[in-house]
Subunit: 314 residues, 2 copies
């Protein structure tokens, strides 16, 4: 009846047995024989000086002492298992799990991945493309690329792209668009995934910034920005293209941005990871690589006139 902890393997056997409400089931889970499990429980009961299970004909049920022990035991082993997973993730320098929004994943990360994989053949990348904010610990994420103006308190955070946006279209379509006024009769592609930005950085804001009055209503709406860009690439209309998602298309001429005026906001892409994790080799390598890639983008068209969306907010 010691006050210290009992043998931990016996305690784990108990936890499994109580969870399964079956010695045989618990034995299966722990990959031991039922006999071994029976001994473990017995030894634990001897330590306690009191039975933990009441043996019925064809089943077992917990005694009150067992009921007192179970919840804390489950909680304890759960915490240990989660801690071990966290340590394994940190110890694992081979894999790097990154989460980013679908648009950024499709239009920025995916096309450049090959380069990273070549530069770091030892690092195995995993992607989790979702708009949902994932929890670093719970979801076992190493790095998140987030868009917005989060404060990232308690996290390591670096702004990686100074985003701006301007009307973009295929070169063919651009031939018909001589002046910004021509946009009033064009098919304008809308993207809803940045609708939560305040001030909004949408067609309305760009039209006001360009002194064109109210933007025309209507035009297809896309829940994700990359789909709007794809539609523009297919010649389906004019998109208010974000530099991050269109840099490649602008480089190879698939899209053009004929009108200089660009909008910007204080919402940017950030590289975010838990404080301290930025020094882990894979994380550092990934950050270095991203900064290298985005430095090139920052040099693109530096003379373009840029207006902050906040200055034309209604």
């Amino acid at each position: 009846m010691s006050d210290r902890l009992p043998p931990l393997t016996a305690l784990r056997a108990f936890e499994a047995a109580a969870r399964h409400m079956s010695f045989a089931g618990a034995a299966g889970e722990l990959n031991v024989t039922p006999a071994a499990l029976s001994f473990q429980i017995k030894s634990l009961e001897e330590h306690l000086g009191h039975p933990l299970f009441r043996r019925l004909n064809r089943a077992v049920e917990l005694t009150e002492a067992g009921r007192a022990l179970l919840p804390g035991a489950t909680e304890g082993f759960g915490a240990l298992a989660q801690a071990w997973r966290a340590a394994r993730r940190v110890a694992d320098t081979k894999t790097l799990t990154v989460t980013a929004g679908p648009a950024f994943t499709a239009k920025w990360l995916a096309p450049r991945l090959f380069g990273f994989a070549q530069a770091h053949p030892g690092i195995e990348l995993r992607f989790s493309a979702t708009l949902r904010l994932l929890d670093f610990d719970r979801d076992e994420i190493d790095v998140a690329i987030r868009f917005g103006k989060g404060d990232d308190e308690g996290l390591f955070s670096r702004t990686i792209i100074d985003e701006w946006m301007t009307p973009m279209m295929t070169p063919e379509l651009a031939r018909k668009m001589r002046t910004p006024e021509d946009l009033k009769s064009a098919v304008l592609l809308h993207q809803d995934d940045t609708a939560w930005l305040t001030p909004p950085a949408d067609w309305g804001a760009w039209f006001r910034a360009a002194g064109l009055g109210e933007a025309p209503k209507g035009g297809p709406r896309f829940s994700q920005a990359d789909h709007a860009v794809d539609a523009a690439l297919a010649g389906g209309g004019v998109v208010l293209g974000r530099l991050s998602l269109t840099y490649g298309a602008l480089q190879d001429g698939a899209l053009v941005a004929p009108f200089p005026l660009a909008l910007t906001t204080d919402a940017h892409y950030r590289f975010v990871c838990p404080e301290g994790a930025e020094s882990r080799p894979q994380v550092a390598a990934f950050l270095d690589w991203i900064l290298e890639q985005t430095a090139e983008m920052a040099d693109y068209d530096p003379d373009r006139p840029v207006i902050d969306a906040a200055d034309v907010a209604q």
Copy 2:
């Protein structure tokens, strides 16, 4: 690099070592040699495939993997230790820990304890007299005697005394108190520990119930009711005595209650324990004994006129 839990003894060795930031210290805590602890840490690091400590000349420090593992490991073992303590308490049928307020402990429990000890020589009682509400699990309390009108949700609860209160004094003093009006010029003893009751059950309420108008201000105040009773026993004044605290004194004539009118409230003494714990042998024995003792009190002076304090609330 298994996904399952590592050897638990090794994990415990790590937790102690990280907490002490010293292998030798941890070895001391676990009553093993430093050599054994060194092996445990090494084995854990092999399981993880990564070091957990960085060995410095004369000290150790945690690697990042170690920092990721430590908090969850501490939490996990903490939960296991607490669960084990809870199980030990339930399994222990020899001791019974009771908490009650100081007044009830002094005036009701303590004088009767000898009887319980005689009837149940195998049960070792422990008392924790405090007005603070203790947590059954955290403070390792089996039974609480609480006064008030708590809802006791999720707990086993029995009202044990239908409390009422009436002016009480020594027989000598009573000779000068022919009618309730005489109380206006008497020394009234006040007790503050039931001041939180709504409606209040104090001298003001009793005077109103007796149709005597406003109670006189002034008179000594006691933070705990048993001290007010002691003052009354010493002939120091008239106390608005609670049946539970004065039953013994009334029985042996040390106090008398010359005026029939009594006040009551819906706040009573309850026997409270965690749901299910009422079937544990010591707990059941204690409840049976208390109910037996209080049944006798309930028979005392059943014809006394009783007014609810709520009916004379201002």
